[in-house]
Symmetry: C6
Subunit: 78 residues, 6 copies
């Protein structure tokens, strides 16, 4: 597998906002590793960004990734 799956090779982030961005990136990188043709990915991204049900699927995946990242960071509690 040549695609990097975890940017920075760490789940630890300084803030919730950065943790959320990491969740979005990690979700996208799995799709990239599964469909390696950039032109196909661009076409499919246009499909799901314009479909209500698929946008909700995106939301579900990001919520699941974020749960893991948030736990890794002890929820950024001070």
């Amino acid at each position: 597998m040549d695609t990097t799956l975890v940017p920075g090779n760490s789940l630890i982030t300084a803030t919730p906002e950065e943790g959320r961005q990491l969740a979005v990136k990690m979700a996208r990188l799995v799709i990239k590793a599964t469909q390696q043709d950039e032109a196909v990915r661009d076409k499919l991204r246009d499909v799901y960004a314009n479909d209500a049900s698929m946008l909700l699927q995106v939301g579900q995946v990001v919520a699941t990734e974020f749960a893991t990242i948030a736990a890794a960071n002890n929820y950024w509690r001070k």
Copy 2:
């Protein structure tokens, strides 16, 4: 990514009600970040708000986000 993904950059809220509102907002912001055209989002929102299965998908996403926020707040136990 220009869209703010975590309002207030914190998962900590004073009450369960505020935690639930944060879950709803965080779910919406992922959709906003994925589909940045407001007119398209308005149209798609009208689609999922009038579709029984998609409303249940909304419920699933919010439930997942809320699980993380509730854990972050130690379930607001006193």
Copy 3:
């Protein structure tokens, strides 16, 4: 958001049965907040209550909400 999302503003309940009822209510309130027209909600409720796959979706959402509420109550262990 005018809809109350967490009845009683607490995840703590006296019993598992009450926790389960809270899970059902919280799931419904997210749908209410997303589709605020009562007539539309009644129509859509009739749709999902008569569709096998959507009833299973209801079950999935309630199971997810209940997981959070059960953890909040330390599973009502004595």
Copy 4:
């Protein structure tokens, strides 16, 4: 809500097998509370029991309920 949602009003069971049975029952009781007409439920049960994708949905719901029950019982570790 007149339907009992948690049989015995407890998540504690003597064994994993009983915990699994409770998961199946709790999943069914949410459906019962949502669709209270027994004749309709029987018809819909016939639908999902003969549909591969819906049987997998049943599996997903039970897996989610069981996760909560297993945690409540400390996984029946001895």
Copy 5:
């Protein structure tokens, strides 16, 4: 319910591999308990084994069952 739902009536396994096999079996046993006609199950198994989306559903169910089994075994940490 006559179908055994948890083989060996325990979530504890010697290794991750055995835990994963248990996850697959537990997922199948819920389907067996829901559709008790073996001929129908064989036909439906042929359906989902040849459908990309349903195979991914299988993966989702097994992942969820495995999460519980892995936690029960403290992740087989040494």
Copy 6:
């Protein structure tokens, strides 16, 4: 079951990146165990790699597997 389901028979990895790769592999091995005909799997892989909704399903499965692996590794905290 002849297919190995957990490569190396361990959930412990040196880094998040390796943990993520393990999540992807474990997800694929369940599909392999369910559909053992390689030619069919290749055909179905081509289906889901070119379908936006199924790619999101892949993302959901991997996110769920990764949650378990990340917990097993205490999130690779130092």
